[in-house]
């Protein structure tokens, strides 16, 4: 394993939204070619491809992409890891470079969600004849969704947020809604976001209730989109142009965790422990303190989720997530800006793309190329995704110090 760092040479994301006139490979191609163009390299420089597309994980999306952008015979890894699929695709390229098997890799995440409805409702369609026969590991005789609690995503993450409210004071419906107020406001500065519309706290709290306390405006939409990144070894980067070196962003930590055994996680996914473990490991590897972070893109699939990750990522005082949003700590002009892209709530959540789109966002700020939404003088940023099941990816990125900047 090489001690050298791995760098992001180029990155790109498509406009997130509904792309009814384009197919999955159109979106993946745009992102892949965009990232290579951004890094000023071609498909012939790429030695490994990591491709993430959760709902098409058996379709060989990586190879389908090669057919459109260049069949060079390199290894392709098609990965699926719930909502951490994109981060996992990135890590396949990262690890290949770390292992010394390649100097340059491409990671692509893509998803077409369409109008997918609520995720997590399980299988549909019963047997034609209704007969109560115990099936599966729980010996259930019928679908239990809604009868033995809920496993639908808005409810699962509502329960995760309410559990935090139970354990710590100062958290209620209003604090959760404030998260969505912030992210919708942030999205107005991001032309690539699915929705770019500001909403008042009242509008958010009075929107259609999905699963208390998550209203419709506190849930991420189903979105189509793709994102990609070109990764390069430090040795190779040193031989590249001054401009490529200046724009390159260092991956100071790349961590993937799963959920360790915890008692209550048998009935409700524990999204906290694996996030805390990933964050702590990433901070240790990078030698970065949470206070050093200039911006964070975290996994706000629901407003209730974002709030608890303030604590899990150690951005606020332990137990103080409610107080932190009350004092506007995560706003773009606050203590540590969180989800200045608009987050999943406004930008959208094309599952396979999300874990690379947040890399795109942070890298773009570190390069000073984020336009109207630029966080001034950003030097260090963190990205976080979590997929139920569970998998958590955390990356810490730092502005280039390879080449002096003017």
């Amino acid at each position: 394993m090489s001690d050298d760092n791995v760098w992001i040479l180029g990155t790109y994301m498509t406009k997130f939204g509904r792309h009814v006139d384009r197919d999955l490979i159109d979106l993946a191609s745009e992102a892949a070619m965009g990232a290579m163009s951004d890094g000023d390299v071609t498909i012939h420089d790429i030695e490994v491809l990591g491709c993430g597309s959760l709902f098409n994980s058996q379709a060989g999306v990586g190879q389908q992409l090669q057919k459109q952008i260049g069949q060079t015979g390199i290894p392709v890894y098609n990965v699926a890891n719930a909502c951490a699929t994109g981060a996992t695709a990135l890590r396949t390229a990262y690890l290949t470079i770390k292992a010394g098997e390649a100097d340059m890799g491409l990671a692509v995440g893509v998803e077409q969600m369409g109008k997918g409805g609520l995720l997590g409702s399980g299988g549909k369609g019963d047997r034609a004849r209704k007969e109560y026969v115990p099936k599966g590991r729980y010996g259930s005789v019928m679908q239990v969704e809604g009868l033995l609690g809920t496993g639908l995503m808005p409810g699962v993450f509502a329960q995760a947020g309410m559990e935090y409210a139970y354990e710590h004071g100062g958290v209620g419906f209003e604090q959760f809604a404030k998260v969505a107020e912030k992210n919708h406001a942030h999205s107005t500065l991001n032309p690539l976001a699915h929705y770019q519309k500001e909403f008042s706290l009242d509008e958010i709290m009075n929107a259609e209730m999905m699963s208390y306390p998550n209203t419709l405006l506190m849930c991420c939409p189903n979105t189509d989109g793709a994102a990609a990144a070109v990764l390069v070894s430090e040795e190779r980067l040193r031989a590249m142009s001054k401009e490529q070196q200046q724009r390159a962003v260092k991956i100071s930590a790349s961590v993937l965790t799963t959920d360790p055994w915890t008692e209550r996680a048998q009935v409700q996914p524990d999204v906290n422990t694996l996030t805390r473990n990933a964050a702590q490991k990433a901070y240790d590897i990078a030698g970065v303190d949470p206070n050093d972070l200039d911006l964070v893109e975290l996994h706000d699939c629901f407003a209730t989720a974002e709030l608890i990750h303030y604590d899990n990522l150690m951005l606020c005082e332990p137990g103080g997530a409610g107080e932190w949003i009350d004092k506007r700590g995560p706003w773009r002009d606050g203590e540590t800006p969180v989800n200045v892209s608009g987050g999943l709530i406004s930008k959208g959540h094309p599952i396979g793309a999300t874990g690379i789109a947040n890399i795109y966002e942070v890298a773009t700020h570190l390069r000073g190329e984020a336009g109207d939404r630029q966080i001034q003088n950003a030097k260090v940023g963190l990205t976080h995704v979590i997929g139920l099941g569970s998998a958590c990816g955390v990356h810490i990125l730092e502005r280039s110090s390879l080449a002096s900047r003017r």
Binding site: L118, S121, R129, K130, E131, Y132, P134, G136, R137, Y138, G139, S140, V141, M142, Q143, V144, E145, G146, L147, L148, G149, T150, L152, P154, G155, A158, Q159, A160, M162, E163, A165, Y166, F173, E208, M209, M210, S211, Y212, P213, N214, W261, E263, R264, Q266, V267, Q268
Partner: protein
Amino acid sequence: MGKQVPIVDYLVIDDGTPHLVAWESTESGALYFDRRNADAKSGTTGFRRRELGRDGVVRSFTIVQRGVPGIPVPYVSALVDLDGGGSVKGNVVNCPADPDHVSLGMRVRLTTYVAGTDDDGTEAVAFAFEPVG
């Protein structure tokens, strides 16, 4: 009355007052509702059946307004920490489904109801929780 079966095999309806049972690891004491190949905490394979308490505390809840077809909304889904050990997810019933009537830390007790009848007339009995006091 036709035959009755529990909706899941960790609900016991034919041995006194209806209650939940779990698989308990003989090594670590970890509790599971589903069949396990080994204990996810210790990696060992010894299990015994353990009867769980009927009373507990609402540790978290949500009120589902948009659910799956065929299930009336709103309903309350809750995570309940059972007295004596074990956590379970279930609906809170016999209580208005609004945040003024359901609260974190609320004490609840297991209850059962018939969730459906199949083509042979067999009834599926489900469990839920209701407020105590």
